[in-house]
Amino acid sequence: MNLSNLALPVIVLLPFAGALLAAVSARYHRVASAWSAALAALAALLALAPLIPAVFGGETLIQSWQWIPAIGLDFAFRLDGLSLLFTLMILIIGLLVILYARYYLSAKDSMGRFFSYLLLFMGSMLGVVLSENLLQLLIFWELTSLSSFLLISYWQHREDARHGARMALAITGMGGLALLGGVLLLGEIVGSYNLTDVLAAGDQIRAHEWYLPALILVLLGVFTKSAQFPFHFWLPHAMAAPTPVSAYLHSATMVKAGIFLLARLFPALSGTEEWLWIVGTAGMITLLLGALTALFKHDLKGLLAYSTISHLGLITLLFGLGTKLAAVAAIFHIINHATFKASLFMVAGIIDHETGSRDMRKLNGMIKYMPHVAVLAMIAAAAMAGVPLLNGFLSKEMFFDQAVVAGRTSDWALVIPILATLAGIFSVAYSLRFIHDVFFNGEPIDLPREPHAPPLYMRIPVDFLVVICLGVGILPAITVGPMLAVAVEATLQAKPPYYSLALWHGLNAPLLMSVLALLGGILVYVFRRRLFDLYEKRVEHLDARIIYNGILNGLLGLAGFITRRFDRGSLQNMLVWIIAAAMLISVAGFVSRDAPLFGLRELMDFDPVALFAVSGLVFASLVTVVYHRYRMISLIMLGVVGLVVSLGFAKFSAPDLALTQLSVEIVTVVLLMLALYFLPQYTPMVGSRMRHLRDILWATAAGLGAAVLTLTVLTRDMVPISGFFIENSVPGGGGTNVVNVILVDFRGFDTLGEIVVLGLAGLGIVALLHNIRLYAPLQDSENRPWTTDSHPPILQSLSRLLFPFMLMIAVFIFLRGHNLPGGGFIAGLIAALAIILQNLSNGIVWTAKRLKADMHQVIAAGLFFAIGTGLVAMTLGYPFLTSTFTYLYWPVVGKFEVASAMMFDLGVFLVVVGATVMILVQLGKLNYLPVTPRLRSEGGV
């Protein structure tokens, strides 16, 4: 297989592997996690490098494997110009952020956690931009929301971080849900979830009656992710994250995921009135709102956050305009915004890091302390403002140009260029504030720390990005031209329109608008004091967060109200509800059908032995209930019931069940007895007579219902579906014991799940019993002292004698299990019983000395065998857990069948032994806990 055929999934999965590596390596050295993170990103870049020429040659690489074909989900990746652009941005800015964060994080912060979250995000984001299958894209989309949540709440001790993270997750998660709906609709319309098909079916989608719902749902996903009005408010609150995160996720990459999707689905969805109105309006409002608010934020990061919102709005607006040239401008601005905004965030982080404050009212005159940073900030901010010779200028000119073009379409459309200029004015004003307020404007005012220049390596990423800003701004055709061309072609899925990247287009309307914006911005900044006053008086208290909190609190209140109505803190109450509901539903089922209650199947004859056994069962059950307050008696009677049940299984041709029930019965009774030692041996009389009467009524009704239901079924004929299993058991599974073959072969996956559950129950019990303190009673319920002879000699010697025989039986039952009644479950229970018997008769200490196996490891080994058997089948090219068998001839034994399912059964055996013994031994160990005299005197309840 050619390795480059795997390159795309490798690029996506490398950061995930790196996340693991970063988490592990942090244990050895905190900086090691930074190194491994950088290594993962570098490796992904290296894997990408050989594919780049093909993409520049106009190819679209698709690497696809079937995953779940039934729902149209493929494991499919796509690399074209657009995804290449985003992949490069994610990886390169990612690398810079890793370098930056290595110096940004303080000694108190856990680097391992940070870098593994960051790489988790990087992998998810790469997955979004490289997915060919829309469903798969959605999975990664959700992963970006989750990793963003983890990164925002990185400083978990801070309340604003936790709230900001929750808000971001709630909003983007909601959008993800909507997007899922939209994608499902698109998939239904097109008949495929693969982008290649969806992009080619644009006309079909736009003509379909579901176009509008699909569009709205997709746009909800896009707008929430890319912080478009009215969902923009989560982004400023996400600034509680460490600044490298803000630079990476919340300006350069994650918030661009929505925009990426706009670009990706541009050929499929754009070009309609609806698109123009919804996308254009949201973009325009966001652009203005962000630009206006940014000026008034005193927090450096707050200013940058609103500025990011504004620029995202600008890009959205461009896509909304829907023309090809607007799309070119949008793509171009994506690149430019990522570079200058990431560098500005890094500058903000440096200032915060070196002064301890981000408040622009205190930060002044920083140019004295960090001149180099000041120069970088000035260039980047100038790019943000759209000053000529910088990259921001070029895309902003394109934007103005498109605004003018759109303005010509009708009279009212004239507002587009006017509003665009207004946004430009404010964007100049806040850029100016960022520079003037921080680096000039007098002396700093009581900063927490004496400002000084940052470490070299914290500055280098900013240097790098600013050089890009300059390079693109001065020599656009050489630096960014080819990349832009392929990205645009991939976005439009067509030849790009003619556009020029020249710096000088002559004296025209866009240039005039730029000049207006620059002059107007300076003017606004000069008169900012008045605007600030106005803002603080009239606007500041208007915050979408209030609405969000209102909705959130309302929902929480509603959930609390419903919970309180149903859950009054009483288990009995809840159980009555459950039982009543179950009965209501089943009675409704009976009543709603007019079929006769009982069928006409020929019934079996009574049999005196059965009658006797059932009488025993009924008697024992009644005794358990009537004497349930004498717990020992009820326990013994429970054992009788279990015994009768296992006899019943034996009678009705189910020897496997009989054996299982019998051995489980013994283990259960021993278990309950061990536990009963620590519990009161009496149940006190509580509750009113009415309550008992009510419970008896419920119980009788439930019993009657169950009996009638059983009879209803048993009197009817049926056609079993197990013919398949009986016919294929020998030829397909190689065993004559159909029950066992079903367990280890036909339904092996279910069994695997069940032994996992059993193992987990065992582990859970160990965890529960950790550090437990219980009163060991001195007497039993009749005030008789417990015997001091805990290990009677006769039992001791007999049990030791029995041990090898019991194990031999276990092995025998195990080996014959595939062909005769038996198998891993039963054998496991018998072996567990053998070990437990030793523990009971000889004591845990004695047994532990002789049986050195750690039951945790036994469970692990069992799961290893069971899963391993499945994986071996997979490596041989069969589905998971496929079994095979062959016949061997052993001397003396003769023909002997070996099935790979036997290895699986061995896994089952080990898990059952491990879990059962572990549970009982852990309980038994409680007896050996040192009990303080005070507790002893309290015991004997």
């Binding site: 049999d607 059965a610 059932v614 059950s621 009768v644 189910a654 029950v739 019990i765």
Partner: protein
Amino acid sequence: MEFLIALSVGVMTASGVYLVLRASTFPVVVGLTFLSYAVNVFLFAMGRLQVGMPAVVDPAASGYSDPLPQALVLTAIVIAFGMTAFVIVLALKARDVLGNDHVDGKDVTPPAGKGGDA
């Protein structure tokens, strides 16, 4: 015979439900065990009752008992054990943490005298 099975299922269900509605942990655990017996027998009976059928594939056999419910019930028995064990240990833990064995953690034991009018 079918009546006897239905009777058994009914009695075990009724006992289970009654015990599950008790206020102390131990009877609740015993009740859950009862309920799992009832469910297992019920599930098993869904394959209809067969007496004297071979348990393994045999070319000479005239018929088989339904192996599918049996396989289901076999694992159900083992899982039920795991659940019982977990719940009883939970009860022990609750007694340790809360100091009593009431299902809601409320201490309702009369302070003097043991076990009331048992």
